[in-house]
Symmetry: C2
Subunit: 450 residues, 2 copies
């Protein structure tokens, strides 16, 4: 019954039934997604797909974000925007499952909304987005951790389902048709972890958006799949995992009042999340050095004490380029100290190979400690002359569950992503528009600004 | 190295390197596929998809078979033709893996060939088709049987890979780009067995065609995936199965000179293959009764002795409609005796519920016997007056490995599928065209007739 129960829940979800934390999370998730999508739009993983597939585009209804007004049919827009949103690994994270949930769902939903010949209110849009993200995360929890361990890219395998649910909700499909949509989405299991490190990693959430969109459109017109797609013996959960927490996860949709969506976290820095505490501390230290009139060249050493995973995953001491720098806690610390920020600009190749960066980076020493949490670190900066020591203890890095990014931090991130591509004025206009999505009569108008 | 080895093999395959049995099998496979696709084109699983998705169609380049000249962009044509080809379960079978191999590969290849702005010779087309089908079956053998047992629809999960290989070959991609195409295809694992019995079952080979086509197009333009997509720890084989015969299967491509493609079998009857021996025998008996002047109404009983799987899979004694009749050995035997054939027409609902059908069907008694092979049966017909007995022992049913359908039987099947939709004259023209595919200068011209 889990598939039908999930479908029933989604089909009856409305804007007014969203609790405040879920609503707020939906608004922030979409906001962050737009910034990431614009910011990733000129990466080759997105631009090759855009150029390569343009010969197949149907009637242009849906905006390709960040491309100066290019449009495609909704299916291709879902694919390409979905790719762009994930390509810098800068999108959101449902920490418990490491799903990046908004990409597949928002890419499908926005592209599809723009293809409709009727207005779509911000409130309806947010309810559909919330339904999709919530069931996507629930599906992920149901198969965690065996599903990820064996090698599935959980963002896209669950993303297809989330996208189908969101589009079904926007279309107002019946519970039965929604269940068929879930089935058509679930049977398209996209995403092997072996693709990490290649263009195909970000292809996954894009294709998931398209899978789910296709599923909902077909189901709306009477296409049948299975009403037990998730729980059947040869259905999704059993085929793709050794776990089965589906029943408990779906049952809790109605009972516990807690939303997975509300636990969605946003990355302040475009790199592996385990580096974030060090960057956070070094950004603070940058300011502290300025306040005290201390100079970088006088630093003798920077000792960082971190969770063991940090060195395991991001221990590159001499990154060669921007991509490798995303896996270097040393680079993350250095740019925090030097620039007081870590945005995509500080991960450009020329920053990574800059002598000043290298000089500061080489002063870092990292020590793993079992008693340090993943969102925590300790930093000790020692100066030669004057002989000064500064200590910083980051208890919960910005962007973690306990220290979520504030709206103004999200805005700064958004403007930083969009300004180089759209210009600062346009970036500000879109930022304002997205923050007030809830009050908009017609989401389709986003195309005017993007 | 398996992925790169496979890619290298495919990239260097040419028409002139095809041994005669593989070439003949490629011609017959494509021929049978065209008939099945035309025959399935008006089924709701195909027509809903066609109508529902037409709003997204791009520039019309590629024929939707059986639709009186409708065209779509190559991606949608691949999807819709792939659906149509499988929807009656009347397509080909690689018996060792029960893959229906031609659907995904031919649907992608033909649609794509038609979208090119250059001629595609029949010989190049057949080489690409052969490469795709061969690697599709090899991939299937590598993960058989655990992959199917756990719940994957092996036709589509391997079909994406086969389609990518075929389109890559037609494009003349380098081994490296072909390997990337295999990776992009492999990461889109489409098809859960839970969908059997719904529209989504035939959606699987259609979507597989589209997955593979998309993969090859992106790889051609420089999209990267993994060069170890199949064999890596978190690559295709390990994620989707507990078997790993990949290395041996890929190594044997070059060494043993035997082609899986050459083992492809064609169904003479549109129903579960285990019923075929009984139908085959009853078709012969239909002629024998006529030769002897015996009447159906004088039959007392028909005893059929069959392989145990027959009763397990197709034991429905009183099928209610055409779909159920496909799982009834009794219906299969009855229509063979009455009509001397079993085509889709004999699986129409009104034939299944016809009193004469029911009268003859009820005279059948089926007995399972362990010493009867799956492609064998014994039939004993007893008459009341005159008191006559006729026995028939079918050693190898038509369509089995040991008694393959002849070209003229395939032609009869083709004409039977195409005539109701295209008219008998047009069906004959296309039949002749497809049989002489090898001599054609430009495969794209098939659109003129379909």
């Amino acid at each position: 019954m889990a598939t039908q129960k999930a479908a029933q829940w989604a089909a009856s979800l409305t804007y007014s039934s969203l609790p405040p934390d879920a609503l707020q999370a939906a608004i922030r998730s979409f906001y962050n997604w737009v910034g990431c999508t614009v910011g990733g739009s000129n990466h080759p993983a997105a631009s090759i797909a855009r150029n390569s597939l343009s010969r197949f585009f149907g009637s242009p209804t849906s905006t390709l974000l960040g491309t100066n007004g290019l449009q495609a049919d909704a299916q291709h827009a879902a694919l390409i925007n979905g790719i762009a949103s994930h390509v810098h690994d800068y999108d959101d994270t449902h920490l418990e499952t490491i799903i990046h949930p908004t990409g597949p769902v928002a890419a499908a939903l926005l592209s599809f909304a723009q293809s409709l010949d009727r207005p779509v209110s911000g409130q309806d849009f947010l309810a559909a987005l919330a339904a999709g993200i919530e069931l996507e995360c629930k599906a992920g929890l149901a198969v965690w951790p065996s599903h990820y361990d064996v090698g599935w890219h959980i963002t896209s395998t669950t993303g297809s389902i989330g996208a189908a649910v969101a589009v079904s909700r926007l279309l107002g499909l019946s519970p039965e048709k929604t269940a068929h949509a879930i089935g058509i989405a679930a049977t398209q299991v996209t995403g092997l972890r072996e693709m990490f490190g290649s263009h195909t990693k970000s292809f996954h959430p894009g294709r998931a958006a398209q899978n789910g969109l296709l599923a909902a459109i077909l189901a709306a017109d009477g296409y049948t799949s299975s009403l037990q797609a998730l729980e059947a013996k040869r259905g999704w959960v059993n085929v793709v995992s050794n776990d089965d927490k589906l029943t408990q996860e779906i049952d809790s949709l109605e009972s516990d009042g807690k939303w997975e969506l509300a636990k969605n976290a946003f990355k302040p820095f475009p790199c592996g999340i385990v580096i974030h505490p060090v960057i956070d501390g070094c950004v603070w230290l940058h300011g502290e050095l300025q306040r005290r009139g201390l100079r970088l060249q006088d630093i003798k050493s920077v000792h960082v004490t971190v969770h063991p995973l940090v060195l395991e995953l991001t221990g590159k001491t001499k990154p060669k380029d921007g991509l490798e720098a995303k896996f270097s806690v040393y680079h993350g610390g250095a740019i925090g100290l030097i620039h007081g920020k870590a945005t995509p600009a500080e991960y450009e190749d020329n920053v990574v190979t800059n002598p000043e960066t290298i000089e500061v980076r080489d002063k870092f020493v990292a020590i793993a400690a079992d008693n340090i949490r993943a969102d925590e670190c300790r930093i000790l900066v020692e100066f030669e002359a004057p002989e000064v020591k500064i200590e910083k203890h980051v208890h919960h890095a910005v962007g973690s569950i306990d220290a979520p990014m504030t709206d103004s931090q999200l805005t700064e991130k958004f403007i930083g992503q969009c300004s180089p591509i759209l210009g600062p004025q346009q970036a500000k206009i879109i930022s304002d528009w997205c923050w007030s999505l809830e009050t908009k009569d017609d989401v389709r108008q986003i195309g005017r600004f993007l």
